[in-house]
Amino acid sequence: MSWSLRVFFVGGLLSYRALFNWLTPWILIPTFLVAPIFQILLFAYIGRSAHLQSDEFYVVGNALQYTSLPCLFAMANMLADERWSQTLGILLSSPASRLALFLGRSLPVVLNGALVGAFGFVAGSLLLHVHIPASAFAPLALVIVVTAVSCTGLGLVNGAIGLRVRESAVSSNILFGVLLVVCGVNVPLDELPGWLEAIGRGLPLTHGIQAARELTDGARLGDVWSLVATEAFIGVVWGVLGCVLLRVLEVESRRRATLETA
């Protein structure tokens, strides 16, 4: 048990520091601080031009959507970078618990995602003069963390795809784009075609964004509890699917000896 905990905490932290390779201000600042601000501004101005929603709508949607960026990319890079540094085979031939191995790697990612989302909220609100009631700060922090966990669940699936697809940056970008379109980030869900709305309701972000919007409108945590629970549940489902997929594709890669050739 203690070994699994060590793999979970120490292994996860070392993996994040060593393999994510984003821990330089030259990458962190443009990617996690500049880009979310400009995405918020871009859609807030499109919203003003289209006379669709208030600035608050876009601050909440885009700040939370940026939570998914580290969650998707880091989980995919987790395997892609192992392959790049030729340690994937060694890693997967170790007897370590796979659950501890992969979930441990997702812990720093959740924290990273939550911080990016929180930064987006603060910066977007200040720039666009969006007022968020002080009573909403703590519940919003909870929603951001739950959303980051949920997105990391999807990130695990993305990571598993990395066992089959070499270009993990492409799959991460595509998933990020899908979340942008179908999760009600900038377009109210009822303005989307029914089938897109249905897809959105099965993905992380959608319920988190809804909960965050209600909280900024003055709702209490108790009022949005079901939305937060649904967001968490969806994240767990995606996470379980990701772990199963990782296991299945690992076994398949061993059987076909395709670990390094994907």
């Binding site: 443009p30 031009s49 270009e167 492409v170």
Partner: protein, 256 residues
């Protein structure tokens, strides 16, 4: 003549390479379409057909900048990783003329994105496009591509000492979409953004394409885009000389 041959074959071979890359070939086309789709839904929900048309033309040019910003800023890093940067720098040909076709090839990939976005808008969102000045439209597209390519060239030279330049290129994607008026009329932005947008060729490129398609006089914007493109190229050539001389003097070409 030899320089023209160098630029042409450099462009052609790099374009062939990029079209076989999932990142440059597929993602460059698909990525801007997520943003275009979101913008189309937003403008359609606003029930204003004219703004939807306005957004459709702007969105189609987004891909040209997307294909350029990330790739161009990291082009020297890519060559460095391939181990070909030293060969390019040591070649007797002018370094700028080796680099320029790579940037223009990246921008050309954006042409696929432009066509895909226009078709997507037409078939999925029912955006009808009647070109008022078809000839000027056909002229505006390559001029825009060339001027954005020249901006990419300047960016690639400016980022030669920045190992993680792709992150800067990524971060420049949204600001240029915003302040060059791709999806939002410039009049909506704060007044201080105006002068910033005037030094960026995409502002005039997208305006020329819009005016050629929807009616207006795009010639002034075309000239402005071409002039800025030439200025970027001249600045990039001068900067490339300085940067190359510095890297040779300090033997730091492979290190930075």
């Amino acid at each position: 003549m030899r320089n023209a041959r160098l630029v042409f074959f450099g462009w052609f071979l790099n374009l062939k390479m990029m079209m076989r890359s999932a990142f440059n070939g597929v993602l460059s086309v698909v990525w801007p379409m997520f943003f275009a789709t979101t913008a189309f839904f937003m403008y359609r929900a606003g029930h204003d057909q004219h703004t939807l048309l306005f957004a459709s033309l702007g969105a189609s040019v987004m891909g040209i900048w997307s294909a350029t910003s990330t790739s161009a800023s990291s082009v020297l890093q890519r060559e460095r990783r391939h181990g070909t940067l030293e060969l390019m720098a040591a070649a007797p040909a002018n370094f700028a003329l080796v680099l320029l076709p790579i940037s223009v090839a990246m921008t050309t990939v954006g042409l696929y994105s432009m066509i895909a976005t226009l078709l997507w808008g037409h078939f999925v969102f029912g955006i009808e496009m009647h070109l008022v000045h078809p000839l000027l439209f056909v002229l505006a597209v390559p001029v825009t591509i060339a001027s954005v390519g020249a901006l990419g060239f300047l960016l690639s030279v400016a980022c030669v000492r920045y190992r993680s330049a792709w992150a800067l290129g990524n971060a420049l994607e949204y600001p240029v979409w915003l302040i060059c008026g791709f999806l939002v009329p410039l009049a909506l932005l704060p007044a201080w953004v105006g002068p910033l947008s005037w030094i960026l060729a995409p502002t005039f490129g997208v305006r020329a394409i819009r005016e050629a398609a929807l009616g207006g006089s795009p010639l002034g914007d075309l000239l402005a885009a071409a002039g800025l493109g030439a200025a970027y190229f001249a600045t990039g050539v001068a900067l490339a000389e300085v940067v190359l001389r510095s890297a040779r003097r300090t033997a730091a070409l492979a290190l930075s």
